[in-house]
């Protein structure tokens, strides 16, 4: 281990330090001040970490080949840290109201972010697996952090059991890969597989196990069953983070493993991924249509968005535009989905429950700016311009068509129509219905409103001027191209 190795992982070190400092501060600062001091401390620390991401070390391998720093790493690091900042900013009011231990909460988000970042910089199956577990285990805790709520307990247990199960599957797949190639680093695996040529029995087993394992992590249909309950039962700010951070990390892993290490087999595999993508988006959307609770609806809709991202993965043979589409969509999805979940924080409801459609009636008049932000996120999730969600759809359809998957592009378009139906139904409730007689109390928070304001503004501005983000995603996708 040299000084260069340490410098390569400064961002991870800083985020870890932030988590530890927050834990110490939680013990030191008195309770009343902690409600504001801890999130501010977390955000300030994460901003420093974000700055350190751009203090780029030369793109190369570090730690004797266990770590790769390249444009791809930087992109995902920045995305993870941004999502963590956003998640920290929306939470304080909720945590104070529900007496959730704030120190643990922010520390958990930071630890999980370190894990996600480790996935992004991995160039070895072992690093990747460590990152994946470091990311996921804190999330199990996060899901159940409202200890007295039985739905939160159910969410945590379900998430934990299925998460452990999928980790085992994934690990088993990695073992098969090691058995076939006698290596754990992506470069060697890729070259051995290339030398072997066409997929045979053992490689197919390995590939299937890895796909299923990662499919669980990303919530790809039919490996998605844990998602609705876990998302629905977890505390709402935690759900907002869970729905984007781990999902982005899962796609970082999918890109690193399926495209990076198993790239030589990718062409044979793309048809399977395309079918999975179609199933995922259609399944998620159809079930979301039937939901009357917005939190559950958003949970299913996040499955649908997984399908759109997976479609771009399936189009890998279109070249860098496919990787760029995944990255761009992950970024856009993180912004708008976290924002949409966070808008539910305005409703003061018992337990971890989200607002039902009836409870949204008249929200547009009761909380005009919050409703406007919610509407912008929903329009963006639908994919209507001028929002970043539209650009994301555009850049996904492009490689999908380029890879000759015209049917999948049509499926994406039709799914967006399905999705419009339930997203716009929420807008209908907010703006076109009068408040019912008994409506839930609305609560607000300064950091919540501010962060939602910034995020919804960004959704529009980056929807009109997406060039810099897309160019960044395009550069970040270059390392994936063989």
């Amino acid at each position: 281990m040299t000084g260069a190795d340490i410098a390569a992982v400064y961002p991870e070190i800083i985020v870890t330090a932030v988590a530890l400092i927050v834990l110490v501060a939680d013990a030191v600062v008195d309770r009343r001040r902690a409600a504001l001091a801890l999130p501010l401390l977390t955000i300030a620390g994460l901003v420093v970490a974000l700055a350190s991401v751009f203090n780029v070390v030369p793109a190369a391998q570090y730690f004797r080949g266990f770590v790769t720093i390249d444009a791809f790493t930087s992109f995902f690091r920045a995305v993870f840290i941004l999502l963590a900042i956003f998640a920290a900013a929306i939470s304080p009011a909720y945590l104070a109201r529900r007496r959730v231990p704030a120190g643990e909460y922010y520390a958990i988000i930071c630890f999980s972010t370190v894990g996600a970042m480790t996935i992004a910089l991995s160039s070895d199956l072992i690093t990747l697996f460590i990152g994946l577990e470091t990311m996921t285990i804190p999330i199990y805790v996060l899901a159940g952090i409202q200890r007295t709520d039985r739905f939160a307990n159910e969410a945590a247990i379900k998430y934990f059991l299925l998460g452990a199960f999928s980790s085992a599957l994934l690990l088993y797949g990695f073992v098969w890969l090691y058995g076939i190639t006698k290596a754990t680093d992506f470069v060697t695996i890729a070259s051995v597989l290339t030398a072997q040529g066409i997929a045979n029995g053992p490689t197919i087993v390995a590939l299937a196990l890895v796909t299923v394992g990662l499919g669980f992590k990303a919530a790809i249909v039919p490996f998605h069953q844990w998602t609705p309950d876990a998302y629905d039962g977890a505390p709402t700010p935690a759900t907002a983070f869970m729905s984007v951070g781990p999902k982005a990390a899962a796609f970082a892993a999918i890109l690193r493993v399926l495209l990076g290490a198993l790239g030589p087999l990718g062409v044979d595999w793309s048809a399977v991924l395309a079918v999975l993508a179609a199933l995922t988006m259609t399944g998620g959307n159809i079930v979301a249509l039937a939901q009357t609770n917005t939190k559950r609806m958003l949970a299913y809709s996040s499955i649908a968005h997984t399908g759109y991202i997976l479609a771009a993965v399936a189009a890998a043979k279109a070249g860098p535009s496919a990787g760029a589409a995944v990255l761009f969509y992950v970024f856009a999805y993180g912004l708008m989905n976290l924002g949409a979940f966070a808008c539910l924080l305005y409703f003061d409801l018992e337990g971890t429950r989200g607002a039902s459609l009836d409870e949204l009636n008249g929200f547009g008049r009761r909380q005009p700016l919050g409703a406007l932000a919610f509407a912008i996120f929903l329009v963006s999730l639908t994919g209507i311009p001028p929002t970043i969600g539209f650009v994301a759809k555009f850049v996904v359809i492009q490689p999908v068509l380029d890879a000759g998957l015209a049917w999948l592009a049509v499926v994406i378009a039709l799914n967006a129509v399905l999705a419009a139906f339930y997203y716009l139904r929420v807008v209908v409730r907010m703006y076109m219905y009068d408040p019912a007689e008994k409506v839930p109390r609305l609560v607000s928070g300064r950091t919540l409103s501010l962060s939602l304001g910034i995020a919804s503004f960004a959704v529009i501005v980056l929807g009109i001027l997406p060039n810099s983000i897309y160019q960044w995603a395009l550069d970040a996708a270059q390392p994936l191209v063989h």
Binding site: I384, K393, V395, I397, A406, V410, A420, L424, M432, Y470
Partner: protein
Amino acid sequence: MTNVLSLLVVIPLAGLIPLFLFRRDERAAKQVAITTTFVELVVSLWMVKQFVIGEPGFQLVEKLEWLPSLGISYLVGVDGISVLLVPMTTLLTFIAVLYSSGGAIKTRIVEYMTAFLLLEIGMVGVFIALDLFLFYIFFELMLVPMYLIIGIWGGPRRIYATLKFVIFTLAGSLLMLVGIVAVYLQSADASGSRTLSLPDLIELRGRFPADFQFWVFLAFALAFAIKMPMVPFHTWLPDAHVEAPTAGSIVLAGVLLKAGGYGFLRFGLPLFPIGVQAWLPVLIVLSVIAILYGAIVSAVQKDLKKLVAYSSVAHMGFVTLGIFVLNLQGGVGAVLQMLNHGFVTGALFLFVGIQYEKTHRRMIADLGGLANMWPLFTTFFGVFVLASLGLPGLNGFIGEFLVLLGTFKFGGVPLGGLFWGPLAAIGVILAAVYLLWMFQRVMYGPVREAYRALPDLSRLEIACALPLLLLTVILGVVPQPFIAYIEPSVDRLIRLATDPSFVVVAFK
């Protein structure tokens, strides 16, 4: 000044700022909206003045780098077709806003005016965008404000109507998005650089093979056919129109439907000549069905607003028929018909709205004898009804006549112009039947006691209707100046559509 087109996009956007600042003052909001749309109207007329008649290509072109990493640019310009559709849009928006501020809209004025200004950006943008990506953004930008206008300020079944409107429109436009991406990928040259700029695409359309054109034209055609709407995609239209507030109906019928016809002309014909030929029989048959079906269904409507809505289906049938007979008369007629329909049907919806505001009745059976009480109303309404049924001397006649002329000359499959021409002509006769019968039932007969004290047109209502009346007469009596704008551009489009190897340098 060459930035006049961008100015047209910026003015409504700038109007949102004072609207936001005065968001607690409804009076100020109305004044801001009226001023903004009026300035927009004046600037659009100034744009017409700068346009050079006789040049078929795009003028007042502006180009800015926008998404260099995707090869997409901000590219706007107008030709002889859009140069007239833009002022039509700004005029109808101004009238819609003016009428709404007179008391027709009672709740949430500020939000309403915001929606209208956003809508205006989308509507003007659709007619000036020359990059497919930009066009798509404006095309969709029209959707959300209209969704809110119908859904918040509409009638009792407004939520069903507005969701139906959005879902239908989105289904079409998202498929068009797939088509746009397909065009984008197909535009790649040897070096891999791609474009969505219309002038460039027209030059390199030779790269679009036949089966590609077949499918991609279908994707575009679905979006435009739903927007127009063509039969059988028209079922959203009566619901949306009936539930929309009056001003919403005016711009929905006057402008939004034109986006479909305009899309066919601007993108369908020049980019996919082989695709057009392949789908031509279907489109002709559907157009004639729309003309006859729209007329017959109008005749049996009990609801006045629904009658006008269905008559739009018939009138739009003339537009598509004129476009797809692919000759000069048909094309010019189609564009004129779009303008005429904008002014006349916009006015008809205005008068149905005025009438409803006074009587609170829309069922034809509940009305009657209005002519005795409202001489002014009767005169205006009568002229628009006569224009709508195509009376010579008023504008409706010129458009339909040219379309019919073009149809008779049409030599394509199936069956040829001598079959379709007379059939479409029957539609003109039917229009006279249902419109005059409606007029008779609504305006004549015994005066109802309940309506006896109701006032005739107010000054505001006259101010809204007068420009439309003047245009109806002027376009009817001297159409030649307008045709002079349209003809060169349509001529070029027809050549592009009928000869796949015809190449032009699109703008100088």
